[in-house]
């Protein structure tokens, strides 16, 4: 077996608070191979974005990161800024969630794309940079790139801005693309276009994509494998097919049940009751237990370990006995 492109082991991110260090992410393992698309799923605050910002080395200084992050076999957790800078934008690129705020409002679109090219190809001439930038705009289906080049972000629609953000991210043919909720802010038709771009890039350039999202439909359509995070820990991880058809963690099952289906229109939408624990208010035992329909006393006492079940890995005490394939859809 070849080395994974990105291999995260035992990742922890702690945030200093008045009540001491609180773990926002703990003991997260995550791997992705070249050309693979892996979905990273969970509610807001589950630690998806934090984990990936840790990979980029972009977390605020006061957060403490520990564990091992190997990129292409090289340890980059706590690597010096100089080393990280040569990776960022060149080998690992990131697409941000909100296209309305990810572009610098006072720089032209052209300048922002060119910057990405020039930062990692300092020897390239002005004309060559512009040529490549225009080609990138074209590749993400921005019409009239010549004219658009000198415009500012506020002259672009949300969908176009997100495509610009993607164009910037793929400018240097990165091996790994971290897409943080790349379509959350967009309407469905644009969403489909963006997903198409990702699929094409993966096919054409062998780019690996980490798809951070809470949209399971996106994961189903694009990803090979998925990891479900809950309260900063891995709840379930495995190939998309088996996890979708036979989830073993009640949280995964709940997320799947929360996806609205086109068949039952009359039914009220299902929502997992309760909210994730806030930082520092983590219950003992399984963090999901207070919201779980299947919790037994054991769940509230000891934290379940990640164990392998078939092709998936699950952190649930009752994973073996529960069959959640067709989750009892409850009348809310």
């Amino acid at each position: 077996m070849s080395l994974p492109l990105l291999d995260i082991r035992g990742l922890a991110v702690t945030i200093p608070t008045r009540d001491g260090e609180q773990a926002a992410v703990s003991n997260v393992d995550f791997t992705i191979d070249r050309g693979e698309v892996v979905g990273l799923v969970g509610e807001s605050g589950s630690g998806k974005s934090l984990s990936m910002l840790a990979v980029m080395g972009l977390l605020p200084r006061h957060l403490h990161v520990s564990g091992s992050i190997r990129f292409d076999g090289v340890e980059i957790c706590g690597a010096p800024e100089r080393q990280m800078r040569s990776l960022r934008g060149r080998r690992i690129a990131m697409v941000f969630q909100d296209p309305m705020t990810a572009l610098n409002p006072v720089k032209t679109i052209g300048a922002q794309i060119s910057e990405m090219i020039r930062l990692h190809n300092p020897k390239l001439g002005r004309a060559e940079v512009k040529e490549r930038a225009l080609a990138l705009l074209e590749s993400v289906a921005i019409p009239a790139p010549e004219r658009r080049f000198d415009q500012y972000p506020h002259e672009f629609s949300g969908g176009m801005r997100q495509r610009v953000v993607i164009a910037i991210a793929i400018a240097n043919d990165p091996e790994l693309l971290i897409a943080d909720e790349p379509t959350t802010a967009l309407d469905v038709t644009i969403q489909a276009q963006i997903m198409e771009i990702f699929a094409r890039l993966r096919a054409e350039r062998g780019m690996a994509v980490v798809l951070i999202t809470h949209d399971l439909g996106l994961v189903a359509g694009l990803a090979d494998r998925m990891s479900v995070l809950y309260a900063g820990r891995v709840a379930e991880r495995g190939p998309v097919g088996p996890v979708f058809t036979a989830p073993r963690h009640p949280y995964t099952a709940g997320l799947l049940a929360a996806v609205p289906s086109i068949d039952d229109v009359a039914e009220r939408l299902y929502a997992i009751p309760g909210t994730p624990p806030s930082l520092g208010a983590r219950p003992p035992g399984c963090a999901f237990a207070p919201r779980c329909d299947f919790a037994v006393p054991l769940c509230r006492m000891s934290e379940p370990a990640l164990l392998r079940f078939g092709s998936a890995v699950v952190a649930c005490h009752r994973a073996e006995e529960l069959s959640l394939g067709d989750l009892p859809r409850k009348e809310a």
Partner: protein, 338 residues
């Protein structure tokens, strides 16, 4: 944008009229007799001299009459004649304004560059020792009175170490270059007098530093707050994710945005300094409009006082206008607005 500028320009005369009226009335209701400085206290008993002086200086007639005359003359570019210098106020101002502007521009340079650098350091190293130190340095300039700072600076750099020259714009033994622009640095260069240029520059250092430091606090504070806000934005993380270096992120990406809200305070500070340089001008015997205003106020020289006020008001209005234009230049979103 052009519309905004035109609208501003149209409103300007009316605002100026308001300023003139307020100043005129204030001067009229001030207790004190300007005749003392015109003919001397001894002659106040002599009704003949008093009447002649009143007629000569336009102090007879009722307040509305005098107001109407003043505004009428003003509309024709006549600011009246100074009771004290016996020269047209316009001539006095034309002689003194360049000196003030030269000082204020240099002080603004010190205050803006210093304030922005301190703000960047303190925002980048928020809550660290560097942050506290930068803010302390900025704050001290605002807290310490400029007249005290000016005296201490003169004591240290002129009296003690003799590093820099004392008050004035040039060495008293030097021959001033022919006045072309009134800006000593420019005129000495135009005259090709290099040593006089260096002399003028050396005379500018202390007052410009003292005055610049005094406004550094507010600039640092504004730019720091605005930098902290900008540094938390997504596009900053995005710039870092591109692989840009810290300095590039700070200057190219953050400062370019952070300066936009700070433009207001920069424009305002500049306008404030035009009339706010009084104390520094006094300490450093700087022949600008600040010291002119002080002398005018002492002798109840109405025309001169009103003249300085008009300059101050005009300064504010123009600074406002320039701020608007600078906004449009700095922020592409503003260009289409208005």
């Amino acid at each position: 944008m052009l519309k905004v500028v035109l609208r501003r320009l149209l409103v300007m005369p009316f605002l100026l009229l308001g300023i003139v009226t307020a100043t005129f009335l204030l001067a009229q209701f001030t207790k004190g007799n300007p005749l003392i400085s015109i003919i001397g206290a001894r002659n106040l008993d002599n009704a003949e001299i008093v009447a002649a002086a009143k007629a000569r200086w336009g102090l007879d007639g009722s307040v509305p009459e005098r107001y109407a005359t003043y505004v009428w003359n003003l509309a024709h570019g006549d600011l009246g004649t100074s009771f004290r210098t016996k020269q047209p106020v316009l001539t006095d101002l034309a002689q003194r304004l360049p000196a003030t502007l030269e000082l204020v521009i240099c002080a603004m340079f010190v205050g803006a560059v210093g304030g922005i650098v301190l703000a960047i350091v303190s925002a980048e190293f928020k809550d660290s020792f560097a942050d506290h130190l930068a803010r302390l340095v900025a704050l001290l300039g605002s807290c310490l009175p400029v007249f005290w700072l000016g005296l201490i600076a003169l004591f240290l750099f002129t009296v003690q170490t003799k590093l820099l020259p004392g008050p004035g714009r040039l060495d008293i033994r030097a021959v001033a270059p022919p006045t072309v622009t009134g800006f000593m640095l420019v005129d000495t260069l135009l005259a090709g007098n290099w040593s006089a240029f260096v002399d003028a520059l050396r005379h500018l250092i202390l007052p410009a530093l003292v005055l610049g430091w005094s406004v550094m606090g507010i600039i640092t504070r504004m730019v720091r707050a605005s930098m902290l806000d900008v540094l938390g934005q997504d596009y900053i993380t995005m710039a870092r994710a591109k692989g840009a270096g810290r300095l590039r992120v700070l200057i190219h990406h953050a400062l370019a945005n952070a300066l936009i809200p700070a433009l207001t305070i920069l424009g305002f500070t500049f306008a404030y300094l035009i009339t706010g340089s009084v104390l520094v001008e006094t300490i450093f015997s700087w022949p600008g409009i600040g010291s002119y205003a002080v002398d005018a106020a002492r002798s109840l020289d109405y025309p001169a006082i009103t003249g300085v006020t008009i300059i101050g008001g005009l300064g504010f209005l123009l600074a406002n206008l320039l701020t608007d234009i600078a906004y449009a230049a700095a922020d592409p979103r503003m260009r289409e607005a208005g």
